[in-house]
Symmetry: C2
Subunit: 228 residues, 2 copies
């Protein structure tokens, strides 16, 4: 019996992951603050992907629910909100609904102001992963999947035949073990457990290079590997 | 005729590079603020490598000179000083001696206070590479080789048979071209030109992950690769 995947967020990343989990047989729900407002939004995103309303028409089997409903229903939660919106979205989900569930945090604290390439809004002495863990101490935050484009998170074989590296940070060993098994089931072969949630600083700080490679090449079809 | 390599710095990184350049037939000099004081230092470094006095006795063919002498004599300069000592060392070398030479900057702005793992003393909105370029506007700074252990900088084949990635940042295209040719001669195959010197932020910010991998594994025998 596959666990319910409650996705916090309804944007392109959330949609992509929902399709991936759905295709693999997981019950999955996308979430947002205001479902009616989100479903009325048919504006393509900055990369030309359809708005959530268009997505929902194409994929009616994936329910859009509120943050609170996704958190209450999900057995494994995924933070796919924007970096700047993550703490608010999780706050709206509610501490009681989040409980001590596993939260896979794949967001990055990118700041798009003053311009491109984005900088980090928190780095070096702190990380978004740590901020989330501090704000919700019972939640079992596992930072992972934040170093690559969402198209490849559940399809690692699409880049370099899967000969790439994923990183994982978190305070709870059992949560990391379960997430590791989930990732392996999707084809991940090299997942490095860096240690506690403070090590999320290291992977979030890969983003300044990531966004520059994306800017230089004009596409996100690449992945980190640690050769050793 | 191989160019003179003037190395700014006399620590373990400088020593390792001097041996590598010397073995490849480059005239090379190591430099320090006070030659007599440095050569009197036989204290092993934190990783057990011999102090500069011991190194000099073992390798008398590699001259230790002042920062100013190395900068004046070198045709290609290398910043192998510590991150925190780089601007002072280059200031001591002197703007006139540095001129408009190529400076390969491989230092990282690691801050070892308050403790391990080190943080970055400058990041996100600035980088050491940019600080050096601003302080010495005529110098042609090329940031590279800062994402791996010094043992592999001139021996890239030692990790993953050389199937790894190096990055390069700098404002001067001719300087980057010359450094690229130098790196290729030492066996580098995948050198990504990220753009101007501001892109050094991206590679310096790989260090927070690098130091955590080093801490987790207890050795520096790994390298980044961008798989695409």
């Amino acid at each position: 019996m596959k666990k319910n995947i409650g996705i916090i967020g309804a944007g392109f990343v959330a949609q992509t992951l929902a399709l991936g989990f759905g295709a693999a047989g997981y019950p999955v729900r996308i979430s947002t603050r205001n479902v009616a407002k989100t479903l009325a939004d048919t504006t393509p995103n900055g990369y030309g992907a359809p708005g959530p309303g268009v997505f929902h028409t194409a994929h009616p089997e994936i329910p859009f629910v509120t943050f609170a409903e996704a958190a209450a229903w999900g057995e494994i939660l995924i933070n796919a909100a924007s970096g700047s919106g993550s703490l608010d979205a999780l706050g709206s989900a509610g501490t009681a609904n989040l409980g001590s569930k596993i939260l896979i945090d794949l967001a990055n604290p990118l700041a798009f102001n003053p311009g491109m390439p984005p900088m980090l809004s928190v780095s070096n002495t702190d990380s978004l992963g740590e901020q989330i863990q501090r704000a919700f101490p019972q939640l079992r935050v596992v930072k992972t999947l934040n170093t690559l484009n969402c198209a490849y998170m559940l399809s690692p074989g699409a880049i370099g035949q899967g000969d790439t590296t994923l990183f994982m940070s978190g305070n709870d060993a059992s949560a990391k073990k379960e997430v590791h098994e989930l990732l392996v089931a999707f084809g991940w072969k090299d997942v490095i457990d860096l240690g506690d949630i403070t090590t999320a600083r290291g992977t979030e700080e890969l983003l300044p290079l990531w966004v520059r490679l994306m800017g230089a090449w004009g596409h996100p079809n690449f992945q980190f590997k640690i050769v050793r």
